[in-house]
């Protein structure tokens, strides 16, 4: 069996080049691959495109916003390109207002389905979401079963940075509660999938095959979060 286990977060992201697309999951601070993002921040790759639910928060925890603030991101594709509260000014907001970063705003369910389509080898899908709004302008429309839909395209990534609860040496992953969110989709939509895991990596065969959320064939690299890692 191919060895997928990397000793450190830094080793696992060392070869990520400039200019690639990074899929970065997490929702409301849960299931965020903070250790891998911190390593990518140290590694210093630039000109990256990020796909994430939001473009960072106002809190101090490492997330995609850390790379935005460091000038590593060229573009963000996310469901929030403005904070829900005008008072919450993130590094992204400041840079976006100054035209220092590009952004594409995508409804959250469309973002999820575009990732799923990329993983599933589907060329796109029609959704009623956003019909009649500014976001549907310029998109192909089609009436299906009496209802108007818009065409949306797949959203693949070069590298997926994933946070999991349990993993085995084959790369099989299990998530816990709302940690799952975008993690399985991004693990499956990325060409190279790198996982930080909260528990000791167990031998293949020790996880129940019926309880696997992401099969190991999608997973390339796994790193156990160290004791002094980021556990939030």
């Amino acid at each position: 069996m191919k060895n997928k286990i990397y000793k450190t977060m830094d080793d696992a992201v060392a070869d990520i080049p400039d200019g690639v697309t990074i899929l970065s999951p997490g929702f409301s601070g849960v299931g965020v691959p903070r250790n891998l993002l911190a390593a990518l921040n140290r590694q210093g790759a630039k000109g990256l495109t990020g796909v994430s639910n939001n473009a960072g928060t106002v809190d101090e925890n490492v997330d995609i916003g850390t790379l935005v603030e460091a000038g590593q991101m060229k573009k963000m594709i996310c469901a929030f390109t403005a904070s829900t509260h005008p008072s919450q000014v993130t590094p992204f907001t400041r840079m976006y207002n100054n035209d220092e970063i590009e952004a594409e705003l995508v409804p959250q369910g469309t973002l999820a389905e575009r990732l799923r389509s990329a993983a599933a080898g589907i060329g796109g899908f029609y959704t009623p979401t956003s019909v009649g709004t500014e976001l549907a302008e310029g998109k192909e429309h089609r009436e299906i079963n009496g209802r108007m839909h818009v065409l949306e395209y797949p959203l693949p990534g070069d590298y997926g940075l994933i946070r999991a609860w349990k993993a085995d040496t084959a790369g099989n992953l299990i998530f816990r509660l709302t940690q799952r969110n975008f993690n399985p989709l991004m693990a499956m939509a990325a060409k190279v999938t790198i996982v930080e895991v909260e528990n000791d990596i167990v031998e293949a065969g020790e996880l129940d095959p019926d309880h696997i959320h992401v099969p190991g064939i999608y997973v390339d690299r796994i790193v156990r979060i160290p004791e002094d890692g980021i556990w939030i």
Binding site: F80, A82, G109, T129, V131, T133, T178
Partner: protein, 224 residues
Amino acid sequence: MAEKVKLERQAMCDRLAMEFQDGWIVNLGVGMPTLCSNYSDSSREIINHAENGVIGYGPLAKEGEEDRHLVNAGGQKVTPLPGMACVHHADSFMMIRGGMIDVTVMGAYEVAENGDFANWRIPSRKGGGIGGAMDLAAGAKRVFIAMEHTTRDGGHKLLKKCTLPITAPGVVKMLVTDLGLFEITPQGFMLIEHAPGWTPEEIQEQTEAKLIISDDLKEFRFRA
């Protein structure tokens, strides 16, 4: 003449929650709508759905009882209930677009008499915050809105036509404000309950759209 009372946010959300029926799957938006979950009625079971893929979660976790892996759509730590299930984001939105959500409650900047509403972008600010709002608006069986009746400067929010970019056309079924409860009918806003002390004429003065006054107009109900 009775004293004029503007409704508190909790009372507004309680009133919408009174409309939830036994067995409904309910999605509460971030902010004020989460207050709907404080209204309890032991005669019915409500199943909470949140965009981040949790179905059947319970009340907010007390201090010391939080689970760092379990949050609602607003990032609040919540508690598990027996029967709770978790899925990934694509499956969560499959439920939303697939018609499994009986009602979604959201906040809004504006609601129009044709059922359009706007809650994601203010043109003077760059970018927007959609989150799951457009999917929920397009996919839920019903959209309820909870918002203040006017802006801080007294500007109108119940309009003939939205001035801000809309979230979805023609979907709002019910609206509660600090002045009353409204149904969106094919003819426009119908005032069905008024805040204590407010006459329909006084509420109309705070409203750009022409109000239809229900034949069965009542004072606002604080409890079922």
